[in-house]
Structure formats: C-alpha cells, structure tokens
C-alpha cells in the first residue's frame, strides 16, 4: 500500500506539470501578436508596460525559454494579469475562492446526506416504488442542466413564492462581515452578527441545493450498488440468521462496509461539482471562481480562464489523490495498482 501511495504522490506533480504544459501551449495559441494575450489593449501604447511584459514572459526569446519562464512564474503562483479586471489573476481568484468553497461545501454536505439516505432507501426497498422514486429523483438531478433548473427554481421560490432571496451572497443593501475565513456564514457568526448569519445562510440555501442535486445521482447510485453487493455477503446472512431486523442489518452491518467504496464519492463527484459550480454561480450571480471563469471566458480573457483552469485542475488532482489514499487506508484488502 505504501508503494501505491508513493506512486500516486509522485504521479500527481507530474500530471500537474503536464496540465501546466497544456496551459502554456493554449496561452501561446492566441491569434496574432502574443503580446495581445498579456497586455490589455489600452496599455499597448505604454512602452514601459510592454517592455516589462516582454521581459517577464520572455516574448522575444525562444519557445523553450518562454516555457521555462511560464512554469517558473506558475510555481511562484503568478498566473498573469487578467484583461478584464487588470489585476493579477491570482489575486482575483484568492478573493473569490472562499465564496466558491462555501457554496461547494454546503452542497457537498447536502448531497452526501441526501445521497446516502436515498441510496440506503433504494437498496432497502429494492425494485419497490421508493427505489424507483429515489432513482428518478437522482437521475433527474444529473440530467437537468443546472443553469436551467437553477433559473426556474429561482423564479419559483424567489419571485413567485418569496421563500428565498434573489441572487447573490447577501441582500443588496447588506455589507459583508469582516473577512476572517471568507465564508459569510462563519464570519458573521464569529462577529456575533446573528441576523447577518441567517441572511447569508438564506442566500446560500437555494444555490447549494441546486448544486447538490446535480451530484446526488452519482452518490445514490454508488451507495445503492455497494449496499446491494454487501447485502449478499456471509456476515450479513449470519446477522439475519441470528434474528436481526432488516433495518438493523442494513444500518449496523452492511452500511459501514458499503460506505468504503462510497469514500470515492469525493473523487467521483468532484468533476460534477466543478461543472455544477461554474454554472450555478453564473445563474445565481455568486461571486466565486466559477462566475469568474464564465465572465473571463465570455470576454475571451485568456489569462483569467486559464488561471481558473489551472487552479481547478490542481483541486481536481488533489481531490483524486486524497480519495485514492483514503481508499487505500480504509480498505487494505483492495490491491491497488
């Protein structure tokens, strides 16, 4: 197992280098003057800025030297300057990351609780109406375009019913709590501002449900199938033979073991989460990394969108690495290659 973990630990930075290399070539693929991909159009007449940019990204040097400079800049966390905000992409992303993390963590919490519950119910009442309903619910979530379901739910619950506030992290008049963690729910609590806490929680509710729904399908399917597999094992039969009720067998005996493969949830659903987060944020005007990706892609702001992609890939790779390691530790019987 140690060898497996070591191999994954070595592979991850190599994959990251590969990702950065692809990003480099993409950044070189802009049509026309490569300078136009680095210096905003309006600053093109400023010789100082142009010279500094040429120097920093090695525009008058060879491709290989430029590649070296690019990777060097990346390692130092320099993702270039956004065309649209004219600020360092890393600064933009740093500011927006907490919003995304707050949304994604809330969604993950909802998705895990609901997904495992639905998975257990469908396995317990296999091929009965409960099973069908929960599977249809899960399937709907993964087939709905979140940018559409989000829009309709926002219209229904915010405009028609008035149950949830409109888009954004807070009401238009409210001021964000002083930043400690960047999570508005946590920061408002730390500041003892209870009304603001409920306000931010209220704003978080619908987008996190929409995002969670898109992931629930994956979790439900995984829990259901691994539970059904475990239910056929000898020790489950023993528990039944000793007179344990079906509910007790399932929760006390089967679920614990069924949850081991479900650990991979984090890894599996991460790709869906990122996709969902990008689109959910766009619909709910959520000021996170996802809406930054959308607006920079829209305005063809290459440093912006490439920056998000690099950070997203880093998160993706780390999540996969952690999942693999957790899986290897939780289930040492599995021979991993």
């Amino acid at each position: 197992m140690l060898r497996f973990v070591l191999r994954r630990l070595i592979a991850t930075p190599l994959l990251l280098l590969g990702v950065a290399t692809v990003a480099f070539f993409l950044s070189q693929m802009t049509k026309g003057d490569p300078l136009s991909a680095i210096v905003p159009e309006r600053q093109m007449n400023n010789p100082e800025i142009v010279a500094a940019a040429k120097e920093k990204w090695g525009l008058d040097k060879s491709l290989i030297e430029r590649y070296g400079l690019y990777i060097g800049n990346l390692v130092q966390g320099d993702l270039g300057v956004s065309f649209t905000t004219r600020r360092a992409v890393s600064a933009d992303l740093g500011e927006r990351l907490p919003a995304t993390l707050e949304l994604v963590m809330a969604a993950m919490l909802i998705a895990t609780v609901v997904g495992i519950t639905l998975g257990v119910l469908s396995a317990r009442y296999r091929d009965r109406s409960v099973d069908y309903i929960s599977r249809v619910f899960a399937l709907l979530g993964s087939s709905l375009p979140v940018f559409w379901s989000g829009l309709l739910l926002l219209f229904l619950f915010s405009v028609q019913l008035g149950w949830v506030p409109g888009p954004g992290r807070l009401d238009a008049r409210s001021v964000a709590p002083p930043s400690i963690t960047g999570f508005y729910t946590v920061d408002s609590l730390l500041n003892g501002n209870i009304p603001l806490f409920f306000e931010s929680l209220h704003h978080l509710l619908l987008p996190s449900i929409v995002l969670a729904w898109s992931v629930i399908g994956v979790i439900t399917r995984l829990v259901r199938s691994s539970l059904l597999e475990v239910m056929g094992q000898d020790y489950v039969r023993t528990a039944r033979a000793k007179g344990a009720g079906e509910g007790r067998v399932m929760l006390n005996h089967a679920l614990r073991n069924a949850l081991i493969p479900t650990l991979t949830i984090i890894g599996f659903s991460f790709a869906y989460l990122i996709t969902g987060a990008v689109l959910t944020e766009a619909v709910f005007s959520w000021p996170g990394v996802g809406s930054y990706a959308v607006s920079s892609a829209r305005s063809l702001d290459l440093p912006g969108i490439i920056g998000v992609t690099l950070v997203g890939s880093l998160a993706f790779l780390v999540a996969n690495l952690l999942t693999d390691i957790a899986y290897a530790f939780a289930n040492p019987r599995v021979k991993l290659q």
Partner: protein, 293 residues
C-alpha cells in the same frame, strides 16, 4: 471496474446463468425505459432532419408580440424579440443532435484509434499516448472545454472541437484495456502463428471483439455532450445569438428572468434528450454486458 458478483442463492457462474437467450430474443424483451428512451431520441433525430418541412414559424423571424406567455397561437410563448419559442426549440435539434453525434463519433474514432495503437504496439508509443490521456483527464472537463473554446474563439464548430478534445481520452482508455485483454487470447496467437500481419491481426482478430464497452459508453455520453454543448452556449462560447440553440436560448431567458417560458422550452428539450440517451445507454448496457447487473 470491480467484477465481483454478489453470490446469488444458486451458485451458477454468472455467464452460464445468463448467456442463454440469443440477442434477437433479448431484443424482444426490451425493457420499457429503453423503449421510451429510444422513442424520445428518435423523435429528436427525426425533428432535426425534418423540422424545416413542418411549416413552423421561422425561428429567426419575429412571429408575434414580444414576451407573450404561452397561448394557443404560441404554445410556448414568444421571446424578447417576439419569436416563437416552440419553433425555436424544435429548430434547436438541428444544432444539438448533430453536435452530440458528431462529437461522440469523432471522439470515439480518435480515442479508439489511439487506444488500439497504444494497446497493440505497447512500449514507448503506449507510454506517450497514455500520458496524453492522463493529462487530458487531469483537467475538470468543463474548464478545459471553456479554455479551448475561448482560445479558438466562440462558435459552435470550435465548441465541438473543444468537446472532442475533452472526450477522446475516455475511449482511448477503454479501447486500450480491451485490446490488451483480447491480444492475449489464443485465437490471436493462432492468427500470428499462421502468419497474419499486424494490421490483419488488429483489424480482423482483435478489434471486432473490443467494441461493446465503447458502444455502451458512447450511448451514455451523447446526453453528457448535449449538456456540455448547451452549457458552453449558455456561457456564450457556443452558438451566438440569432441561432436557435438551446443553451443560448436559456441564456436569453436568464436575461428575461420573469418571463420563465422563454427558457422553459429549450430546457425541457435538453432534459428529454439527455434522459432519452441515458435510458437507452442503461438498457444497452444491461443487454450487452451481463456483468453489469
């Protein structure tokens, strides 16, 4: 893929218990979801092929007052420019269906070719191809697609290219795994011993046995491609305005938030097509791959 089959009460090996009825007989026992899925997908394919002969209002021309709620004359209402939403939704199939089929087809072609080469040749070639696969799969799909689309510039063709780049590695992995397995079988050894050339061995003795998982995966992926294409258009990287593409129609609907019907039609279209493909893919998997049950 863990192939551990939960032990049933009767301990017959799964393949013996299930390999009874012929394919034709299994086809007659097609489960209901597959029929529904097939019907929905067929409906959209036929729509894509024939919608221009249906005598619908022109999807790009103004057909009535703007932002009319659904009524008898405009079943799904009209949009911000007074165009008929139902007509635009049905015309949307002309873009979404060929894109889904085209992206998956080209993705399968590139992926299967490279995967087969990697699996059959092995060594350095395998290493290079598979590292390329690993790196491509290290990107979150939507972000890679967005970046490539933004690099190439907006437009449906560029969005399709971006999606092909995102999609081929999955098929390459599947194909390589299949080829590696089939390569070791005895009939291949016999063919090589009989003096067959590489191309003949690969083309006649190996590849025909490799398609099942790829076919199943491809069917499931059509829906995902429809979703991703619509997402790219929604973001503004795919189809551009007057085009009646579902994603960009929803994006126009998002700007006219209170007129919910502008986005309703195209969203339902995406949902039905995605569900159709996924029912079809699920059913196909159950029929062709007995291990999955």
């Amino acid at each position: 893929m863990t192939a551990s089959v939960s032990s049933p009460a009767v301990s017959l090996p799964a393949n013996v218990a299930r390999s009874g009825p012929s394919f034709g007989r299994r086809l007659r026992q097609v489960p209901l979801p597959v029929l529904i899925g097939g019907f929905v997908v067929l409906f959209w394919i036929i729509t894509a092929l024939t919608v221009s002969f249906w005598g619908l209002p022109d999807p790009i021309q103004i057909a009535g007052k703007r932002l009319q709620a659904p009524s008898l004359s405009h079943w799904l209402g009209t949009d911000a420019l007074g165009r008929d939403v139902l007509s635009r939704t049905l015309y949307g199939a002309v873009y979404s269906v060929p894109i889904a089929i085209g992206v998956v087809a080209v993705g399968v072609f590139i992926g299967a070719t490279l995967g087969a080469i990697a699996g059959y040749v092995g060594g350095v070639v395998d290493g290079i191809i598979m590292r390329l696969v690993d790196v491509t799969l290290a990107f979150p799909p939507i972000l890679l697609a967005m970046t490539i689309s933004a690099t190439l510039g907006p437009g449906l063709v560029n969005a399709a290219i971006a999606m092909i780049i995102v999609w081929w590695p999955i098929y390459a992995r599947l194909m390589r795994a299949q080829v590696l397995e089939v390569k070791e079988r005895e009939h291949v050894e016999a063919a090589i011993a009989g003096g067959a050339g590489h191309i003949r061995v690969l083309g006649i003795h190996i590849l025909p046995l490799c398609w099942t998982p790829i076919l199943i995966n491809a069917t499931m992926d059509f829906g995902q491609v429809v979703l991703l294409a619509a997402s790219l258009s929604f973001i503004g990287l795919g189809a551009s305005p007057p085009t009646p593409e579902w994603g960009s129609m929803i994006s126009e609907g998002a700007a006219r938030f209170y007129s919910w019907w502008v986005a309703f039609g195209p969203g339902m279209a995406i949902l039905t097509l995605v569900l159709g493909f996924s029912f079809l893919g699920d059913g196909l998997r159950d029929m062709l791959d007995p291990r999955s049950k």
